[in-house]
């Protein structure tokens, strides 16, 4: 029972920023993605975060796994030019073929670089 307690406790902690900062400390390029808005059913609420490093390592989530791949790809661009980007994902989006949300929802994600 004790292990369950500890695991559930860990699930309730949102320390993506701390982990992203620790990556940055080691000299890696790091981008932080944040859910800005959602429509319909989307698995992660506004404010959910995903950190990505230059090697493509991830911590946290911005969806139930539907769009993380695309966000990681865009994050590489953000890491190289330092310009933040606002990304739209949804079934009506032209990217739907690649990264459509299985849940039928829409989500807006902002990606910034940790300078």
């Amino acid at each position: 029972m004790s292990e369950t307690v500890i695991d559930l406790h860990a699930l309730n902690h949102d320390d993506v920023v701390e982990k992203a900062a620790a990556w940055r400390e080691t000299g890696k390029k790091v981008a932080l993605a944040t859910v800005i808005a959602t429509w319909g059913s989307s698995p992660r609420p506004v404010g959910s975060q995903l950190a990505v490093d230059e090697d493509g390592n991830m911590i946290g989530s911005v969806s139930g796994g539907c769009i993380e791949g695309a966000v990681v790809h865009e994050a590489q661009e953000v890491m190289s030019d330092g310009k933040p980007r606002l990304l739209d994902f949804g079934v009506s989006n032209e990217m739907a073929w690649e990264v459509g949300l299985a849940c039928g929802g829409k989500v807006e994600v902002w990606v910034e670089r940790l300078d």
Binding site: L8, E18, P84, E112
Partner: protein, 230 residues
């Protein structure tokens, strides 16, 4: 994010301060909005700052609907906390319920024999006297305080701090008679009726709970009710 913004954000989180990170979604400029100050390179007018503080109080990240500037406020709130005074039997199921409900749980009990690691794996423990322990915990409006010892020596010092703190919930285990004695002592110690009425006693929702686990459920349910109705 600029390095100095990240450093301030991490410091705020480490010291469990509430802070909103407001970002301009086009330029990427950012400012941290605290309850009493702001820090960052994004200039915000009073309307935007107060909208960000509202987001903090509502614990809700989102776009700020102020003018045409695309602003987003990311709320960083520390986890809710439950401070349990008394490492008694009821504390064991209560720890499990509070942790699964998303609370950081802390047990205070200066009696070494009660607060053993074996009985409370994975829980932060303090063996300080309750008033000293609580004074050092920066109790805020996301903290619940539960006293379970029904020993005035231990409960009263905790309540004396709790009643003048911002805690959103204060509850004390004990019969009506125990509570009457408690009210008398706190009144003598100079606490007002209004302050003393903050104590939920007898503790927990009235569900005829009998076993320690059932009483823990009634306490967790009452804390949830107070939190969500607030």
């Amino acid at each position: 994010m600029r390095p100095e913004t990240l450093v301030s954000l991490l410091a705020a989180r480490a010291s469990k301060q509430q802070v909103a990170l407001v970002s301009h979604l086009e330029t990427g400029e950012q400012t941290l909005v605290f309850h009493d100050r702001t820090a960052g390179d994004l200039e915000l007018d009073e309307t935007a700052i107060s909208a960000a503080r509202n987001a903090l109080n509502d614990d809700k990240s989102g776009r700020l609907q102020t003018g045409n500037t695309p602003l987003f406020a990311q709320v960083f709130n520390p986890p809710k906390r439950m401070i349990i005074v008394g490492a008694v039997h009821i504390a064991q199921p209560l720890v499990i319920l509070s942790q699964t409900s998303g609370y950081e749980t802390i047990i205070v009990d200066p009696r070494g024999a009660f607060a053993t690691r074996d009985r409370f794996p994975g829980v932060t423990m303090s063996e300080d006297w309750p008033d000293d322990a609580l004074k050092n915990m920066a109790i805020d409006n996301r903290t619940a305080i539960v006293t379970l010892t029904h020993d005035p020596k231990l409960d009263d010092p905790a309540l004396r701090i709790a009643l003048r703190s911002e805690a959103f919930y204060v509850g004390s285990l004990g019969s009506k008679r125990t509570h009457a004695g408690r009210v008398e002592r706190l009144t003598e110690a100079g606490y007002t009726g209004e302050e003393i009425e903050r104590i939920h006693a007898p503790i927990g929702l009235d569900i005829n709970a009998k076993s320690p686990a059932e009483i823990a459920v009634s306490i967790m349910a009452q804390i949830t009710q107070i939190l969500r109705n607030a």
